[in-house]
Symmetry: C2
Subunit: 202 residues, 2 copies
């Protein structure tokens, strides 16, 4: 073939990302392949490499999409509860719920490991930062006397904690305990952490 020009480069990228996203959602990272993506979007493998430099690049952009979708979802979740603590607990539970519902997509964000030399990726870092700032924003009413620096530290620690619970439950590493519902645990983490911090600073 040759120039068909039915779709611009940008349109093709969007089509590829749509296909890749759907493929990950359906089969997970293990079932993913560049060939399948190319087939789905109606092009050939070679063409994919004119749109993305390699598989890692494509997957990183799919992760970005998931991150954005999750962020939007969490904003919605945070809108409901009025009380600050309940709101923070709802956000934590929302995070875990998102991970369970969109298991393969969510796992892509964390199983798709980038080597340290690529940790400076602006898009990914921006999303990570946005998520932590979002937590910070909803944590601040509960820690009115904390300095900005302390607040950031607290938000990082708290969100890492929630993330840990999320990871372990999503990967079956809590299966031994027979635990069914993690909501009590996520509530506990948020509640105890906040209470501990409040006590600490008076």
């Amino acid at each position: 073939m040759g120039r068909r020009n039915q779709h611009s480069r940008e349109e093709q990228r969007r089509m590829a990302l749509d296909a890749a996203d759907a493929l990950v959602a359906a089969e997970g990272l293990a079932g993913f392949s560049m060939r399948k993506v190319a087939l789905t979007m109606g092009y050939t493998v070679g063409n994919l490499y004119l749109l993305f430099s390699n598989q890692d690049d494509l997957l990183a952009e799919v992760s970005l999409r998931t991150a954005d979708a999750m962020y939007e979802y969490l904003r919605g979740v945070a809108a409901k509860p009025k009380a600050p603590l309940e709101r923070l607990q709802a956000i934590a539970a929302g995070y875990i719920g998102f991970a369970q519902k969109h298991s393969f997509r969510w796992r892509l964000m964390f199983e798709h490991y980038l080597p340290p030399e690529k940790w400076d990726h602006p898009g990914l870092n921006a999303r990570q930062a946005a998520l932590f700032e979002f937590v910070e924003e909803h944590l601040s009413p509960l820690l009115p006397d904390a300095s900005p620096k302390q607040l950031r530290t607290a938000a990082t620690a708290l969100w890492s904690s929630v993330h840990g619970l999320c990871v372990l439950s999503a990967t079956g590493k809590l299966h031994w305990s027979g635990l069914k519902d993690v909501r009590p645990l996520s509530d506990l983490i948020v509640r105890a952490f906040v209470a501990g911090l409040r006590e600490e600073r008076g």
Copy 2:
């Protein structure tokens, strides 16, 4: 070739696990392959499949080794500090330290995802349970009035939290913050969580 009988089945398994462990430690999961393992141990690919049913099986056993090594290491770390809180903080920091030092091995335990139908693996579950019980044991002096059930819940929540921090720092997901040392964060998590729980129950 044929029967050489220089090594028994059990010896061969040990050799394969040694080779696989070293390979993971050196190149990570990405650089791992059955062929490389076979070559290192002086046998051929086909023979590996008489020792392990497949790659997942082999890697699961490598994970087991790492889990045992980590458990031993943490027991050593816990022996030093006298005060309960400092001991718990040392264990948390020890966990993160182990993950940083043995990065590839540690990551294998979590990146090597098993499908839900294999979550009943007795060996892996036993190790997971042992780790949480170990935490429980060192958490109990700090929560003398907690029931066994409450104690287990608390240990699960606390260790999930520490694990979350460990995961995020190990995969560069905290890189955006410019954070250098995670020890202050792990100390904070342990301290705040314990303080919050103590306050909660009087």
